[in-house]
């Protein structure tokens, strides 16, 4: 993977992501964003792709595998899945794919709502470092970052998205 000299533009990545997803969207496709960055992207994709199913969101805090080490995540939001998961085609949307543990938690949570027919994964950036056998269906950007850095998606007051790297 290339080391970043400058960070890619988040809005451009969203456009590429939507273009890649478009051919596979059906009237039955539903989007679920993972709090918080994934929800922002899912909101944008939902409009851009004209998704007919209502938009869902999940917070995976209750399903995380590090509860015993780190306790309950503060500021946990309620999950909201306003459609029937049973038999649905679901696209999980997140900002950054890293270890894969968040996606594992999201999959476990979804199955507590029902048995989906198919689940895909859409992310803006894949930064490598996987610790589980999980891969994105759509991902417009790969980016290698040292483990000491955190890649976060931010949204300003005008709802513009941007990527930022912080040192841990």
């Amino acid at each position: 993977m290339p080391m970043p000299t400058h960070l890619p533009d988040a809005a451009e990545l969203c456009t590429h992501l939507a273009a890649a997803m478009r051919p596979e969207i059906t009237p039955q496709t539903a989007l679920i964003g993972i709090h918080t960055g994934g929800v922002w992207i899912a909101e944008w994709l939902h409009r851009e792709l004209g998704i007919q199913q209502p938009l869902g969101s999940i917070d995976v805090a209750f399903y995380r595998d590090d509860f015993n080490q780190r306790g309950l995540h503060k500021g946990t939001k309620a999950s909201n899945i306003p459609f029937d998961v049973e038999g649905a085609h679901i696209v999980i949307v997140d900002d950054v794919l890293y270890t894969g543990r968040t996606i594992r938690a999201a999959l476990n949570e979804l199955f507590d709502y029902g048995r989906p027919a198919r689940i895909d994964l859409a992310v803006l950036v894949d930064r490598g470092g996987r610790e589980l056998p999980i891969a994105a269906t759509w991902c417009p950007q790969a980016l290698a970052l040292p483990a000491s850095q955190t890649l976060v998606l931010e949204r300003d007051d005008a709802a513009r998205l941007s990527l930022r790297v912080t040192e841990k």
Partner: protein, 324 residues
């Protein structure tokens, strides 16, 4: 100043023994955490895996079906293993001491004790004993001790008020009835004051108000009324207490009928409160003694939502303690 014995060295909740001394921030964090748990109850599978593999012991030295059941449901929805012990009917009657019972259960790899006891201070005694013997990884939740405290009831009451009224700092809240015997009232008053409620009115006959109740007011936000009609004027929230027949020793009251006449919540008395007032009761209700059925089942009543919220609040407390 000594540390609040419920908090660990990081200032996080390790046990929940009383609401006294808990900051507004900690209370708000509990309510914020309870909100997503309320959503879990609406799922196909009403369970999250947070406490998988943990053992929660319900230690009930005093009978209570409802409180024990809500703790049991809360723990099971967190995927904990729940063991119910009605000790009033077992070891204690064979002469085993409280701390011997605790030691034996701790030796069975308990992670959390939910304790109800007729003696005030029993949960604190257990927490102290566990800390002194190097087992403070076991969390204690007070499910009601004597006349002292019933913190999860107080929390679910505050959660209910927040749900319907949003802002605590503009409310007038009445607590009505048998405050003398009520651990619920003590927890409610501590929490209402910590949350910044500007006026808390306690309403009851002289014989059922503890002498120290005015001192509990601290900053003068507590007002005492013996005339219920006077006390209910313009309130936003009416919190009824149960008349504790089983704790009533001797002649504190002339008769239940007379109590109802003066302190029973009827539609006519409730009409003195604000038009959008809510009516709460910790249950079990004595209909026709402290509350009229027309009020208990009426449009202002949020008594059944209280029960539902109680499960989410107890899930929040248990998961916060277990994670700290």
């Amino acid at each position: 100043m000594t540390r609040n014995p419920q908090l660990n060295k990081h200032g996080e909740l390790q046990h929940l023994i009383t609401l006294e001394g808990l900051s507004r921030e900690i209370l708000a964090a509990i309510f914020d955490t309870a909100e997503p748990f309320a959503e879990v109850a609406e799922r196909e599978i009403k369970k999250v895996p947070l406490l998988r593999g943990k053992s929660v012991f319900n230690l009930f030295f005093e009978n209570s079906t409802r409180t024990r059941t809500t703790f049991e449901i809360a723990a099971k929805r967190l995927s904990a293993d729940v063991i119910n012990l009605n000790i009033s009917t077992s070891s204690a009657s064979k002469g085993e001491s409280l701390l011997d019972t605790v030691d034996n259960l701790a030796a069975m790899q308990a992670d959390m004790f939910v304790v109800r006891h007729a003696s005030s201070g029993a949960p604190y005694l257990i927490a102290q004993h566990l800390a002194a013997t190097g087992r403070d990884h076991i969390h204690i939740v007070n499910a009601g001790d004597g006349r002292h405290a019933h913190p999860t009831q107080g929390l679910l009451d505050m959660y209910t008020i927040r749900h319907y009224k949003k802002d605590f700092t503009r409310l007038t809240v009445a607590v009505v009835g048998d405050l003398l015997h009520s651990r619920v009232a003590r927890s409610q008053i501590h929490a209402l004051q910590a949350l910044g409620v500007p006026e808390v009115r306690v309403i009851g006959p002289r014989t059922l108000l503890p002498t120290g109740v005015v001192e509990m007011g601290g900053r003068g936000s507590l007002r005492v009324f013996h005339d219920m009609r006077e006390g209910l004027k313009g309130v936003d929230v009416v919190m009824m207490l149960r008349l504790q027949n089983e704790r009533m020793a001797g002649a504190l009251l002339p008769s239940p009928q007379e109590y109802f006449k003066y302190y029973g919540l009827t539609p006519e008395k409730l009409a003195l409160a604000k038009p959008d007032a809510i009516v709460m009761h910790p249950g079990p209700m004595n209909r026709g003694i402290e509350i009229d059925s027309a009020v208990a089942d009426g449009a202002h009543s949020v008594i059944l939502p209280q029960v539902t919220f109680g499960i989410a609040v107890r899930m929040a407390v248990m998961s916060m303690l277990a994670g700290n």
